[in-house]
Amino acid sequence: MKPIAPVAVLAAAYLLVPLLLGGNAYLMTLLVSALIIAGIALAWALLGNLGGMVSFGHAAFFGVGAYTSALLSMQAGLPVLLAIPLGGLGAALAAVAVLPALRLSGPYFALAILAYAHIFRILATELKSLTGGSAGILGIPGLPTLGGLELGSRNGQYLLVLTVVLAFIALYRAIWRSDYGLALRAMHDSEDATRVVGVNSTLLKAAMLFVSAFMTGTIGALNAHVINFLDPDYAFSGAWTIVPIAAAIFGGYRTLGGPLLGAIAVYLLDQLLFKALFPSGHQIILGVLLGAMILLSPNGLLPWISRRLQRRPATEVRHAAA
């Protein structure tokens, strides 16, 4: 069953979803939005898991990526599909400014990066000649048609964002499994222990910051070409931080699939269910989810589910011994 499962999930995601739901533009829009959140959640989790850093300011990278791509495609006239990865690079470049924050730990890092998000937002507002100031940018070109596939349609957007998110999962997995990933995971509880065996921990952490920023920026760029609109408040909105964190924590930020699962679950639940229950202030549920997960199952939903599914005696024994 094991090897079949991922193939089945992929087939369902690529074929079944567009076939069954493709006609419902609203649902497809929700799915695209959920995948956007999933992309950020994944990048956030990567930084937390491999770099050991909790960020409260991923909106900074999201916004920079979005602006970079929008401006490159509109002012420099670059093709959208080229501008998007360059948006990711732009965000990675912005991460250079964040490098001094790597020396900070825990809450200091988390909130320093939030300060960056604020600073970038104010800069985007003030640099009017470049960004159009608070009026923002309307009419950002949409996704092109590629080999007969209309990427700009809802289904096309879905397939493209899905592919990018899956590619990021693959990248994340490759890093995770590499020796660098091993060293990064090892650094968590015992940074000194890894440094004394020759690991340049600062360099590796910086690399993870760049990777995470690149992913977030790329997603931000994608979103800009999906929504066709940007302004500073929107591009650097705290929502680009809050919802992905809730999603990653909910799904299980220590797993590869957790952020994706969490984002889809949290976003769809929020939009289809909670919104109906609490017409105003339904974000309250996100807060409750976040708190409950931290208190009851800090590792998230996915590990909890897999524990439930494979309740083998062996694991029980090991947990009892631990």
Binding site: D179, T194, V197, A322
Partner: protein
């Protein structure tokens, strides 16, 4: 091989090490002893780079290491263990060695990892979770294994025997003796058990109040009245 000149370390006004001068030759096995709080672990931290001294020089293998970050010292051939084992969490035993080898030595050599695992009798636990699946003696062995995997020229062992039962202690000591034979590397070891030190080392260095008070063969050192005094406070055999 290793040379320390006038090392001084202060923690908030307290002199932890004062004017420590110490040198080791290639392949030498030296014991570092002294009462609690004498500054032994601090000296290890100075050598491996965790603590920056206020003055002095650290020269290893002909290179001035004072400003070198930890990972560079490790790559230059300085391996160390921690008094309280610090396995790399979330990783298996084999992965622990792999990381040490990959980053400390620069490339991975599975055969060599197997060799170390066999040597430290960790082979059966190779796939075990380092943080939760090991007994204390195995954790201690893993500490040494990680250091060995970096292919050090000098190994700093901080109380690798403490907390072991008598039997485990004996076994581990044999391992350490074999280590010197097998890999031909220098060892600087902190150990309280005087029997162990006497069996293992050709030379013993005694620290007290952050100063070197004796340096010589185990016999000579443990007969030294000043050493006995520092250990027991009394005028022992005098």
């Amino acid at each position: 091989m290793l040379q320390l000149d006038n090392i001084a370390v202060r923690f908030g006004g307290l002199n932890v090490l004062t004017d420590v001068n110490f040198a080791m030759e290639t392949g030498e096995v030296v014991g570092l002893v002294g009462p609690n709080g004498a500054g032994k672990t601090t000296l290890f931290n100075v050598i491996s780079g965790l603590v920056r001294p206020v003055s002095g020089r650290v020269v290893f293998d002909g290179r001035d290491m004072l400003r070198a970050p930890l990972y560079q010292r490790a790559r230059a051939g300085l391996g160390r263990t921690f008094q309280i084992p610090q396995p790399m969490h979330e990783l298996t035993v084999r992965e622990n060695l792999r990381v040490a080898q990959r980053f400390g030595r620069g490339r991975v050599d599975e055969a060599r990892i197997d060799e170390i695992l066999d040597f430290l009798k960790l082979r059966p636990k190779a796939q075990a979770d380092a943080a939760s699946g090991l007994a204390l003696s195995e954790l201690k062995a893993l500490e040494v294994g990680k250091a060995l995997a970096t292919e050090p020229k000098l190994l700093l062992l901080d109380e690798v025997l403490a907390g072991l039962e008598t039997h485990g202690k004996r076994l581990f000591m044999q391992t350490l003796l074999a280590l010197r034979e097998r890999f031909g590397i220098g060892i600087l070891i902190i150990e309280h058990d005087i029997e162990t030190i006497s069996n293992l080392c050709q030379r013993v260095c005694v620290l007290d109040f952050g100063k070197v008070i004796a340096d010589g063969t185990p016999q000579a050192v443990f007969e030294d009245p000043q050493v006995i005094k520092s250990y027991t406070g009394g005028a022992a055999h005098a």
